[in-house]
């Protein structure tokens, strides 16, 4: 190898340094895209929501019980939509929390590694199925073949079928996060309990589960947030009737399916129908963001450090 002159060597160092700092600028700007997106989300929703609230007062929006933005005589009370969203999400949690926690406990404490390695990806698949498929399932299978058997008067579009399907959709969230929490409980705790003569049932429900409780609670909160944002199932199987009702057998419109309805119809830019999309979207974002924040906090704060 020929000798390298100092001059050439320094030049190569400088070149490498330049490439390095250029590269840093590139990767930094890529990272900033997500931050920028959050800013764009907030400003876009705020600007159009402000325009919306020139038509309706915030008080009416939050406390009104009639939502007739798409009709000639307009009322701007979000409560019917909010109620439907909360109702379907509660039904969803009533499915996914018990089934998910049971599955997580079984997989983490009872199942052998082979069963676990097969069952976990299969459950994971449930969240990979496009939601339009769950909508089809709710409308054509669950309501006519399952719900109608027990409940004759149930409407074709109903909140119950929507909630049940969203429950299936959110099941993997509960399983994954609860399972992580259970797995994180150190084995010493189990062994100590056994050495004191505990039966497995006591070890699982009196030692391991309480130790993992924060993660289990968080999994339910995060699943609830996910359930509130689900759109296609509600739009297909819930119907487009904005009514304030607590009867899960009735057709009712959630916040997300209202957005879907406006999107399928024609809402020209600048009209109050168009602006209402942003107000509803903003409220939905605020609620789900709060829930996610609480969920992540619960995981972090209550986490017992071993």
């Amino acid at each position: 190898m020929g000798s390298l002159s100092t001059h050439e060597f320094l030049k190569s160092v400088r070149r490498r340094r330049r490439a390095d700092s250029l590269f840093m600028v590139v990767v930094l700007s890529a990272t900033l895209v997500s931050t920028l997106t959050l800013i764009v989300i907030f400003t876009t929703l705020s600007v159009e929501s402000v325009a919306f609230f020139t038509h309706a007062s915030i008080l009416e929006f939050l406390t009104g019980t009639k939502w007739t933005v798409l009709f000639a005589e307009k009322h701007y009370g979000i409560l019917p939509l909010l109620n439907a969203t909360v109702l379907t999400s509660l039904i969803a949690i009533a499915v996914s929390a018990p089934a998910g926690i049971a599955a997580a406990i079984y997989l983490s404490e009872y199942a052998g590694p082979r069963f676990r390695n097969i069952a976990k990806p299969v459950i994971e698949t449930l969240s990979g199925v496009p939601t339009v498929v769950y909508g089809y399932f709710a409308l054509y299978l669950v309501t006519p073949n399952l719900l109608r058997v027990f409940w004759e008067g149930i409407s074709i579009h109903n909140a119950l079928a929507v909630g049940l399907m969203i429950g299936i959709l959110t099941l993997p969230i509960v399983v994954a996060i609860s399972d992580d929490a259970l797995k994180a409980v150190p084995n010493d705790l189990r062994l100590a309990a056994y050495s004191l003569g505990s039966r497995k049932i006591d070890v699982v429900f009196r030692v391991v589960l309480p130790a993992a409780l924060s993660g289990v609670v968080a999994s339910i909160i995060l699943a609830f947030a996910r359930a509130m944002g689900e759109t296609l199932i509600a739009a297909i199987a819930g119907g487009f009737r904005p009514v304030l009702s607590f009867d899960p057998g009735e057709s009712m419109q959630t916040m997300t399916s209202y957005i879907a309805q406006v999107a399928t119809g024609d809402a020209p830019h600048g009209t109050v129908e168009y602006q209402s999309l942003f107000a509803v979207g903003f409220l939905l974002l605020l609620i789900t963001a709060t829930l996610n924040f609480i969920g992540l906090r619960v995981i972090r704060r209550w986490e017992i450090k071993y």
Partner: protein, 298 residues
């Protein structure tokens, strides 16, 4: 005194019998939770196949949508999905890889990195329909992109960004520290370490994350519904500024029609969609297997 001891003994034994019984029955009850999910998935697939398999034909893929269910197909929707999701992957995957590199190699340990990570976690929690609403306000009308393939692709790219970034971060973490330190000790710059140490080793795993992001984007209907509306399109998308529809939206359209023929058609369409997702996921499993073998070998 003696009587009391006897009673305590009986109580203990009874409790112990109960526990023994519980110990047998509880795992069975809990496993129902596992089989519940699996059963629903199986029922779903069986129902769709029974309902739609006889409608599967090439027409479904090559024909345009039609008011006549006998000849309706989803050609424009399939091409729309390929264009939109393909473009979104081209945007999302490099962005995710770059973000992951910055987070791990440049900002690691700094408070700043925590802030950025927190932003990404927040982005992952935004409901997908809200991305659609923002895409409509910001891209379609704000920037004047129109209800186009471009607007849809950007929205899907941002939607999948947090998921793909997280897998890319995990991929970089699998690269042994020793190799990096060795390179740094020889005077390599960060760029050189990233290019010749990290990327060659982490890229396959990053790509599996990218494919999972793609399969998620294929199934997303809500944001595209808001951006594109529910359209009846009988043309192939040819430019980035064309209006478009995607497969889940075409299915939504068919499902919403009351005629039984459309119900069968939507079931057949669902089979096609699920087959595509199955193929993508099998690819991921195969890639992971290869990766695992390679890691075992070294």
């Amino acid at each position: 005194m003696g009587d009391q001891i006897l009673i305590r003994d009986q109580v203990d034994r009874r409790r112990s019998d109960l526990k023994r019984w519980l110990d047998r029955i509880v795992p069975v009850v809990l496993s129902v939770g596992v089989f519940f999910g699996v059963t629903v998935l199986a029922a779903l697939v069986v129902d769709v196949v029974l309902e739609g398999s006889h409608r599967l034909s090439l027409n479904l893929i090559t024909n345009y949508p039609s008011a006549n269910p006998a000849e309706a197909g989803m050609r424009s929707a399939i091409l729309g999905t390929i264009a939109t999701v393909g473009l979104s992957a081209v945007i999302c995957i490099p962005l995710s890889i770059a973000s992951a590199i910055y987070l791990i190699e440049y900002a690691a340990g700094k408070r700043w990195a925590e802030v950025l990570r927190y932003n990404i976690a927040n982005l992952a929690g935004v409901p997908s329909v809200v991305f659609g609403v923002v895409g409509l306000g910001f891209l379609v009308y704000g920037l004047g992109v129109g209800r186009s393939v471009l607007a849809g692709a950007f929205t899907l790219a941002i939607l999948t960004l947090p998921y793909v970034t997280v897998t890319c971060v995990e991929a970089i973490k699998t690269v042994p520290e020793d190799l990096k330190f060795g390179a740094y000790a020889l005077g390599a710059t960060r760029f050189q370490v990233v290019r010749s140490i990290i990327l060659p080793r982490a890229l396959p795993m990053m790509l599996t994350g990218g494919i999972l992001g793609i399969s998620r984007a294929i199934g997303e209907a809500a944001p595209i519904l808001v951006i594109s509306g529910l359209l009846f399109i009988r043309e192939d998308p040819t430019s980035l500024f064309d209006r478009f529809t995607v497969m889940p939206l075409q299915l939504f359209n068919w499902i919403s029609r009351p005629q039984p023929a459309f119900r069968e058609l939507s079931a057949a369409g669902i089979i096609v969609l699920l087959l595509i997702l199955l193929a993508l996921n099998s690819l991921v499993i195969y890639m992971r297997y290869r990766l695992y073998r390679r890691l075992e070998a070294t």
